[in-house]
């Protein structure tokens, strides 16, 4: 659990360790269908809601398509890397192309409450859980 952000030196390391621990955890099982695993997605839980964070540097915002239905999210777009004419390329490490990824989450979402934000190359999707799906506390009489 990432509750201890007290020590600034340890904070990043603890976060990295927690991310490593959940690497391809069973949580999504086989429910991600796509044309390939790009872009890599991290899913976090905040209270009862989910937050999906995806790294997409240099993507044209207008080419990004995000669709949601029931408990499925689809993210599609085009990552472009372009050079001006007449240059000599010494090294090419960045990837470019079209991507189209669909993930099915094991929780019911509230599609109207889904918010997407793209900033500094990070696409953050706020996925609220639907009211009916949230667990109800049961009091002992």
């Amino acid at each position: 659990m990432i509750t201890a952000f007290v020590d600034p030196f340890e904070a990043l390391f603890n976060l990295q360790r927690a991310l490593d621990a959940r690497l391809a955890s069973d949580w999504l099982q086989d429910q991600t269908t796509s044309e390939g695993p790009f872009p890599p997605i991290n899913v976090f839980q905040q209270g009862g809601d989910l937050l999906a964070i995806i790294e997409l540097p240099g993507v044209d915002k207008s080419s990004l398509q995000i669709e949601a239905k029931e408990n499925t999210i689809r993210i599609a777009g085009k990552k472009a890397v372009s050079y001006p004419d007449g240059v000599s390329v010494h090294r090419r490490e960045r990837v470019a192309g079209e991507f189209d990824r669909t993930i099915s989450l094991p929780v019911q979402l509230e599609p109207d409450g889904i918010k997407a934000e793209y900033r500094d190359g990070i696409l953050a999707l706020f996925l609220p859980r639907s009211e009916r799906d949230k667990p109800r506390t049961i009091t002992i009489s």
Binding site: F5, L12, L15, V95, G121
Partner: protein
């Protein structure tokens, strides 16, 4: 060229000669390097890094680029499913003296840092007229 399927690349970790004093891992941002008539351009991908958290400096002929993440965004979040790790970015390049090291320009947009390294006058290509 036929469109290739985009592959997710695993982040490369920094293997530097110096050790770090903090236990966190640092990653190497992917870079494209290309050259035109007047300058060398280095484009690095550092998603999640804001303008104020980038450090570009030249020391003794080596260009150092560092990008720091804003951890506050991850406060209170608990990971349930992860496919990639996050961390600060660092990469360094040794510059030749064909680069004018005082006039390096940098631009950051959507997590992509573009550095312009202008060439010294005598390094620019000269056209030779054939009489």
């Amino acid at each position: 060229m036929s469109p290739q399927e985009l592959q997710a690349q695993k982040k490369r970790e920094l293997e530097g000669k110096e050790e770090s004093t903090i236990p966190a891992r640092t990653f190497v941002p992917t870079a494209d390097i290309y050259e035109d008539r007047d300058a060398l351009k280095v484009v690095l991908e550092m998603p999640g890094v804001e303008k104020g958290n980038v450090d570009v400096r030249v020391e003794e002929g080596v260009l150092f680029v560092e990008g720091r993440l804003d951890l506050a965004k991850y406060r209170g979040l608990q990971p349930v499913y992860t496919e990639y790790n996050i961390g600060n970015y660092s990469r360094s390049f040794r510059l030749s003296n064909a680069i004018n090291q005082d006039k390096i320009g940098a631009e950051l947009s959507d997590g992509v840092l573009s550095l312009t390294l202008p060439k010294v006058e005598k390094a620019k290509p000269r056209t030779i007229q054939v009489s």
